[in-house]
Structures are given as C-alpha cells and as structure tokens.
Symmetry: C2
Subunit: 215 residues, 2 copies
DNA sequence: CGTTTCCTTGGACAATTGTCAAAATTAATT
DNA sequence: AATTAATTTTGACAATTGTCCAAGGAAACG
C-alpha cells in the first residue's frame, strides 16, 4: 500500500515533469521566434540604435510580448547572441566534410566566404558590434568568449583538414589562425559595406594566397 | 593712390585674416578640449550607453557648450575619433626609431604592446566600438578607414624595420600583417577585460614567437 | 461546461534623450 | 568706457526609452 502510493505519486510526478518540459520547450521556442525577429532589426540598425520598441514595431509582435518572454533588454540581446551562434558555427563544416582534394576545399571555402560577405553582411556586422559591446558589458562576455572559441574551432577544422589533404600540419596555432582570418574578414566587411566592389574578390584572392602558405 | 588704396585694403584684409585664423584656432582648441573630455566618458561607457548629457555631467562643462561647439552628437563623436587617431598612430614610432638590433626592437615592441593593453584598455575598446559603429553609420566610415590605414602603416613600419635589421623582407603584405596583429590585439583585449591575468603575457609571448617567423 | 492558468494587448509611467533658444556672463573692439 | 560680439549657462521642448500593469482573450484542464 505504501509502495503503491509511492508508485502512484511518482507516476503523477513523471507526468507533471513531461508537461513541465513541454511547456518549457514551447516557451523556449517562442523566445527563439522573438530573438529571430529581433536579430533582423539589430542587423539593420546595430546595437546602439536599436530599442526594444523598434524591434517590436518592425516585427509582428507587440512590445509587451518581449517583456513577457525576456526579463529585460539585456536578456533579449543575450538570447539573440546565443541563437546567432548556433546558426553560424557550422557554416563551413559541410565544405570540409565533402571536399576530396586540397583545391576543392580551398575553392569551396573561399566561395563560401565570398557568399557570406555578400549575403550575410548585416548579421556579421552585428556580431562585431556585439563583440565590441562585450568589451564594456560583463553580461555579454561569457557568451561572446564562447562564440569566439567556437569560431576558432571552426576555422581550425578547415585549416587542419586542408593541411591533412596535403600531408602537412599548419604552421601556426589555432588562436593565431583565427585572429588572422577574423581580422581579415572584419577588414573586408568594412570595405564591402563602404561599397568597395573589390572587397569580395580581394578577400578571396587573399585567402587563396594565404591558406596554402600556412597549411 | 589707387595702388595705395589697394595696398591699404589688402593690409586690412591680411589683419582680418590673421584675426580670423586666431579665432578659428581658438575655436578648434576648445573643440579638442571638449573632445578629450568626451573621450574619457566614451572609453568608460562605450558608444551605445553614452549620451551627450552624461558626457557633460562627467566633465567640467555644461551640455550647452557641447551644442555650441558641435553641430550634433555625430559631429562630436567624429571629432573624438579624429583626435584619438593623432594620439594613437605614432605610438610605436620611437621604438622602431631608437632600436639598434632585432632583439631590442622586438623587446621594445612587445613591451609597448603590453603597456598599451594594461594602461589604455578603455581607449582601445572604444576604438573597436567606434569601428563597429562604422559598419552601420556612413558618417564614421571615412575617418575609420583612414585610421585603419594609418595603423596598418604603423605596424608595417615596425615589421619592415625588424626585417631590415635581419637583412630580410616580410613574407606577408601590409594588409595581412595588420589584420593579424589587429585580430590578436582585439582578442587579448577582450580576455584582459574579462580579468584573465594571462592575457598580457600570452599576447607578448605570441608576438615574440610570431614576428621572427614572419619578418 | 466552467474554471484556472497562460498568453497577449495596449496604455501609463517616469526617466532620459537630442535639440534649441533666451538670458546671463565674459571677452573683444572701438 | 561703451558697445558689440562671443561664449556659457540654464531651462524648456517634444520624442523616445525601458519598465510595469491591468484588462481581455486563448488554451488547457478538471
């Protein structure tokens, strides 16, 4: 009888847990929906010029909803950053997975780089903007450092695969390699946004020259 | 008589010109005073969180003065950026001018780098912040691109002097070299501001390893 | 079906923002 | 010394901001 009671209770408990999990999942899905909408406006205007109300106005949601799902503005932005990460960090993985030769990998990588600069410029300027905010705001630092690490890993996967296909090993550390590519991308992103038509081809040319000399 | 008139007029004109020039110089000196005060607050809070009124409150000036000397907020920030450039761009020049050997130059450069990271972190985070703003705001782009170019030149002066002292030439272009050092500095600046005690020594170690392998 | 919980709306609120202008003060000129 | 010009102060202004809340509606549940 006592065990029956216990079993019944724990069954109830299990059901409640599942229900709770579903609720939380739904809650989280909505958060991501909202974060996605926020990212569009943030990418267009940048962190400094974006207010919660303008995010709401440029989306299908009211500003009240954002306050219901996020404690405050920082909470929203943090969620945006985290969500952005997931989309960004595996961007080049299929390139290095499918490439069968050094040339193919270099070709695929630089093509993808060009595509990124052309099509996702506003998402990447937002990334640089938010990373700069992390220099001032503690709350961003953890997420930003984590994303930076993930990007470093991604670049390293490309580079070490490229070296492997040539029977070599990269001559620099993952950190240095990431700093180099990050610095380059940032530079050509600025030029591209300043309507320099040579930005994309120059970046591609630079990478094509650089990668074989490093890996 | 006619020539006398003309001579008199042009003398008057010259005096007026000098007076006008003095007035403008004074006006400009005041602008720089104000920009200097603004830079302190901007470096502390970052672009997004800094308002004209807070700049004024944290300085000895009233907010009205800023409006008297600057057309608007953008004008003030642009003046700040330009003024910042002049202070920053010659930072490492005496190092490469006085160094008599490769080792001395490398030593001096990495020491100066460490000092910069330690003492001027907030000015440099402001630089990265403003450069990110240039990704969104046209008005900043010209100045930012110009400063970027000046910094690239500065890095190149160091590197080519270092190579020269070893009878070599750098193996990468000025642009790539700047991208590398810029990316590295940005990275370790973030770590340093996140209270990572290894940030400064790690940056120094990285540069000491890197520079001889490139130049 | 009724009730309770969850979600959404839209407005109210105080605080802050950039901008401007009319006085007050100071410096320059005659 | 008197007048003119330049500089600074101070307060007002409308617009925008993040935050909070009360009411209504939808959905889940017994």
């Amino acid at each position: 009888m006592a065990t029956g009671m216990v079993r019944q209770m724990s069954a109830k408990q299990r059901v409640a847990d599942v229900v709770e999990a579903l609720r939380e999942e739904k809650f989280n899905a909505r958060r991501i929906e909202l974060a996605e909408a926020a990212l569009a406006t943030l990418g267009e205007l940048g962190y400094a010029r974006t207010s919660l109300r303008e995010i709401a106005q440029k989306s299908e949601f009211t500003h009240g909803v954002f306050h219901y799902y996020f404690a405050d503005k920082l909470d929203l932005i943090c969620c945006c950053v985290r969500h952005y990460k997931a989309k960004c960090v595996t961007r080049y993985d299929d390139v290095s997975a499918t490439a069968r030769s050094r040339d193919e990998l270099l070709e695929g990588f630089s093509a993808k780089l060009a595509e990124t600069l052309r099509d996702d410029a506003s998402m990447h300027r937002l990334w640089y903007d938010l990373r700069s905010q992390a220099l001032f705001e503690d709350a961003f630092r953890g997420d930003v450092l984590e994303i930076d690490q993930s990007l470093e890993n991604m670049v390293w996967r490309i580079a070490s695969r490229y070296a492997e296909l040539g029977g070599k090993t990269p001559v620099v550390s993952p950190g240095v390699l990431y700093a180099l590519f990050d610095g380059l991308f940032q530079r050509y992103l600025l030029k591209h946004l300043a309507d320099d038509p040579r930005a994309i081809p120059d970046l591609v040319a630079e990478v094509r020259r650089l990668l074989p000399s490093i890996c």
